[in-house]
Symmetry: C2
């Protein structure tokens, strides 16, 4: 593992690391924010980004380090897919590199490299825990495709995360164009296999021990709201299970990082309430 | 004047505008943050960016909107030079487009378009004041080449700005490689003409009515510190005039926007102390 960048930031350290990934079969880069040192090791918040993003979008644009430094939370920002000339890709922005959808692909040509779920569930946590000391408490959050990623990671791994939050997540990929395109390519035509990567399906069928606090913010000026996002589907699934989801509609906000920056402090404070419990 | 982007941000509006500039002879773009409306119109803080930047670097990376919204300060982020295929340029990053140095060039091929000083002193203020209502109180700040720009704008226009601040400014361009290269090209070989664009020279010779509060932050891990920045030269000039400059050396910080993000709240609070006086 090689450190490729380091900057002092709000008294902590903003770092970028590169490492070979055996799961994905290519070199991968992630960003890490370490808050100013305290007596005890910090908890860790995972941030999963959206379509076209890499580890730097949230890092440079969300302004999360200020509150992470104040609260004493470490942040880890992985990339959104395997990368490289030898990695299968697609000319569109919503498939292939930059659009891994946080799942394990089963179909050619994707299956050999597109295993972001295993990478984030097993390989990257093992790697960072062998290099850094965290408190052991973890939370997860993300934006759009990364909101989908955060929700499925939390729902599929009961007990691993204290809390989950998302900005404008794709909650019901089986039913919207982004998800249908990606799942058809990565998972094939049998839609029954899609359900295990769909937050609404997962939540409806989750065991009680998977329950955890969920916060979702959605801007009502988001141009993807009606066609791709449909947070009401998740709210309905949560209501039917009496699940602790808070869905907030934020008036006038769009799908951009200006929206994320405006509310990231509230998300960090939400997670802190569980990470330090 | 055409609005090309608008996003809700911290309850205010982040906008991007394009307009034809008669001073520069090309279309220009600037960004503007309007804080949430209050009973009285907001004061205006000008932000001048550094080499290679345009109006978006500070806008997306500094996280300034949060505190600007809280304090009720509007922010304007101009571009750093004229732009376009018909505008003279240079292959290097520190001359030509993206490197206007906030002066009026006298030498060919630059003189016809590179007049950022006049653009920022006259044309752009007149334009924005005809479209928006501000309180009339203004402050100015910048980074690196833009720190130089903020300091010379304040020193050359007594009474216009309530306060000035800078991150890692080029304070003595006559004596450092970045300044010598740019001034040779834009202003010619006669170094006596350079002095009116050099903060140390301007401060040493400023009339008493030009005095205004100055805050300068400089990281001691900034790789440009010794060769290009030398803030001690400005501190020495200020000391000899008993000028109200606070120069702060910030341990471990570099030249990046992570440095700016870490201290922008303190700069905004510094300016607010004068903008609302």
């Amino acid at each position: 593992m090689e450190k490729i960048e380091e900057h002092r930031c709000f008294g902590g350290l903003m770092q970028r690391w590169r490492h070979p990934s055996t799961t994905l079969g290519c070199p991968m880069t992630f960003s890490l924010f370490l808050p100013p040192a305290r007596e005890s090791a910090p908890p860790l918040l995972w941030w999963l980004s959206g379509l076209t993003c890499n580890d730097e979008n949230f890092t440079t644009k969300a302004g999360a380090q200020r509150m992470a430094a104040e609260l004493g939370i470490a942040l880890i920002m992985p990339d959104t897919s395997p990368r490289g000339e030898s990695i299968p890709n697609d000319a569109s922005y919503d498939l292939g590199q930059g659009a891994g959808f946080y799942l394990n692909a089963s179909e050619p040509p994707w299956a050999s490299h597109y295993r972001m779920y295993d990478y984030l569930r097993d390989e990257l946590p093992a790697l960072v825990n062998s290099h850094f000391t965290f408190s052991g408490k973890q939370a997860i959050a993300g934006h759009s495709m990364g909101g989908h990623g955060a929700l499925i990671m939390a729902l599929k791994n009961p007990g691993r995360f204290c809390s989950v939050s998302a900005f404008a997540p794709i909650v019901n990929p089986c039913q919207v164009p982004w998800g249908q395109k990606a799942f058809s390519a990565y998972l094939g035509a049998d839609e029954t296999t899609w359900r295990e990567w769909d937050s609404c399906e997962l939540l409806a069928n989750a065991p009680d021990e998977a329950r955890l606090p969920m916060l979702v913010d959605q801007g009502d000026a988001d141009t993807f709201l009606a066609e791709q996002l449909q947070p009401a589907q998740l709210a309905e699934a949560a209501r039917s299970r009496d699940w602790p989801l808070e869905l907030r509609i934020q008036h006038g906000y769009d799908h951009s990082y200006y929206f994320i920056a405006s509310f990231i402090e509230e998300h960090l404070r939400f997670h802190a309430g569980y990470l330090f419990k």
